[in-house]
């Protein structure tokens, strides 16, 4: 096994994502470009890690739904939008740009595309 091929890569290189809001909650779906990378995402993109990654936005919970048939997963981050479109003072009160915050994470052991 060529261990030297296994490096840490940006999630952005091996997966794509889209965010959507519901009130003060946000969902971000993440899909591996290559089905072979899905198990790595399932292993390393844990609820705890995503909660930590968004800590500056203080989500009260992160729930992950795995979608193996689609090679991806859906994260639901609760109360992460400073009140969302009702109350937030953020330019992006919907949190739609936060999909690319998630994509800043790194994954170990993937092959570069």
């Amino acid at each position: 096994m060529a261990v030297s091929n296994q490096i840490t890569v940006a999630l952005h290189e091996i997966a794509h994502a889209r965010a959507g809001d519901k009130g003060n909650h946000l969902n971000i779906s993440v899909f591996a470009y290559e089905p072979a990378d899905y198990p790595l995402l399932a292993e390393q993109l844990t609820e705890a890690r995503v909660l930590q990654h968004f800590s500056s936005r203080s989500p009260t919970s992160v729930k992950r739904y795995l979608l193996p048939k689609l090679g991806g997963m859906n994260f639901v981050l609760e109360n992460v939008l400073d009140g969302g479109v009702n109350d937030s003072l953020n330019l992006d009160s919907h949190g739609k740009t936060l999909s690319f915050h998630l994509l800043k994470l790194t994954i170990f052991g993937a092959r570069r595309r």
């Binding site: 959507g20 500056s56 400073d82 109350d87 003072l89």
Partner: protein, 470 residues
Amino acid sequence: MLCEPPFARLRSSNLVNMKQDAQVGTLLVGCAAGGSGDRLDAARPIVDEFIERGLPSVLIFENLAERTLAFAQLAKRSNPESGYEPLLVEEVGPILQDCLRHGIAIVSNFGAANPQGAAQRLLKLAVELGCEPPRIAIIEGDDLSDTHGQQLLRPLLADELAQGTFVSANVYQGAWEIADALKAGAQIVVTGRVADPSLVLGPAIAHFGWPRDDWHRLAGATMAGHLLECGAQVTGGYFADPGLKDVPDLADVGYPIAELSADGSCIITKPRGTGGMVSVRTVKEQLLYEVHDPQAYITPDVVADITEAEIEQLGPDRVRLTGVRGHTRPPTLKALVYFEGGWLGEAEISYAGPNAEARARLAMEIVRKRMGNDVDLRYDLIGRLSVHADDKGALLGETSIRDGKDIRLRVAVRHDAEARIDQLLREVYSLWLCGPAGGGGVRTSKRQRLSNASCLVPREAVPAAFRFVE
């Protein structure tokens, strides 16, 4: 000119097909808008494609984001003639004649707060274009803004209604009244608030004749509607990431068409000769868009489960969705209630060149001191942090690199009193004169906000119905 009732044609085509193999043939549904303010030239290529293919076809426009309807309610309050989609004529005018001539039904929530007003405007438009007046049905029962509606909501949202200044309330209606209107011969169906996917499910029910408890098929067409409801978001819009996810010709992106089958599955495609693309990836991203639990996507019509769904590329710009399952629809309907939400003020000023970020941060401190501690202010250093930070400024405080060379300070404030908003706008304006060196490009704005609350209403309490508008 010939103005054929679309579903008369659908019904006769169904009968022909049923004689052949008991399976009703394909229904095409195209979506030419994913929100009020979306592109106005999206419908033409879809309608051209419908005409060329000659299959039973329905055109939908999704024009009602959550807040759009509350603002429409306010517009109607100040002018009872308004309250429907302000660009209705621009949206429908270019294709109305062809839709009526070729039996293409139009279904849309562009009625907003005033479906009757939209229907009357469309009747006038048809006459202006030299068509026979079309049969237009409106769906009613979603608006709970009157006294009766508020009484209904009071036990469900007691605190919110006691504290807030009520603006409007609408309940999400479903697909069955749309289907009934089409079966009764409507050429155009105008709704207020219905669940977005119901705009697709309604025509599918009318076409295929599915029974009310055929949950899997209802769920399949519901998810087709979900894929369509945001327009180009399934055909390459909101998808491109140069070098990783390249999309051809987004300037001319084609809006989606779903080929619905009698088994509840669908193929997503787009008009020939348009930009954008339909791929497994574009469809996956949109399938999960604004979805929380993939096992329970709840609409008024069904609870859809996409955990076993499969997405397959059949050819260029042709992607099939199968395997959606459905469960019994919920006993309640969701109502969104809007209240006055105070004022939002925003003001910006730029600093560039040497020491720019330090000057911007100094400007921030000056505004903070001038405004006092009794208002909620948010600061962004655009060029350093503009959207990913929090309202409280924790991340901005932690961001230690301070060498930004082209920084735009944004200050935002919310308050119930307009005077406090005006004060902030003046404080940023006066940075021209009293602030750090080299500031420029001040812009200020203020607007009234709306806030909302939701509740679940027993569906028997809020029946919907269609009627024709003469």
